[in-house]
Amino acid sequence: MLDSFSRAVVTADAKTAAIGGADLNALKGFIAEGNKRLDAVNAIASNASCCVSDAVAGMICENQGLIQAGGNCYPNRRMAACLRDAEIVLRYVTYALLAGDASVLDDRCLNGLKETYAALGVPTTSTVRAVQIMKAQAAAHIQDNPSEALAGAKLRKMGSIVVEDRCATLVAEASSYFDRVISALS
């Protein structure tokens, strides 16, 4: 497992070079933005169970067949497994965001996931849909402007009003991890 710092080390070592100016500047950027990153991780982690249940609910809402006899979220046991899996994905995305590097997500979560799901007969399209919903929610939580449409009565704001793209790079980074999950499943 790597983070953005050890990634720089491993890359430099492959070239037997010291870590140079450009990489050091990128890391300084990481540090300068460090508190925002921690806030973003905290925002997702604190809202994880909502994200997960909303994503699975959204997925089912669009495809009721999942909870009917023969569907992949029927009976309750399989529904529980679905919720658990969504939470696992979100958890590894959160780790990746904390580390600033995708390796923990790749190595510990996505590696072999597609094959496992294929063997278990889990429908990829639905899974991807749930991940997409989590991606949108995570973006909203990082920016701390969850939309009323998605959150409904559960809407809560964590702090003062946020200027729109204060966290644009972090949102983009988190989204890239969700995209990694989606492409690993597709």
Binding site: G21, L24, L27, R91, V104
Partner: protein
Amino acid sequence: MKSVVTTVVASADAAGRFPSTSDLESVQGSIQRASARLEAAEKLSANLDNVAKEAYDACIKKYPYLNNAGEANSNDTFKAKCHRDIKHYLRLIQYCLVVGGTGPLDEWGIAGQREVYRALSLPTAPYVEALSFARNRGCTPRDMSAQALVEYNALLDYAINSLS
């Protein structure tokens, strides 16, 4: 590669939980110290060849016999190796500054190295001397800020301790 962040993530993962407040606090603590470390890493990377050469030359100058074709006719072999290795250690120290832990030195410079030096009867004294010179030479604020120097010297001490 161990760092504060990977350690935190690994233990959260082992427990199957999201990063906790205390996890985030320990990462935050590490980030606060990281500026000083990166400053030292930046200065070292810009001068690595010079620092290595200066340390090595000082060691040679102090022990001129290293420089003479004396009866130990393999001294040149050792000098060439020593120069190469000093650079190697400084590079690993730079990595440690960046990663915020001793992982790169431990994994690529120390584990097994003591054994190899012993098995081949290679003297460690020139390494120790050269690295000690580098440690004692660092000067604040000329070379880097006081905090950066503390981080840098701590790693030099760590390398000296583990190789001697």
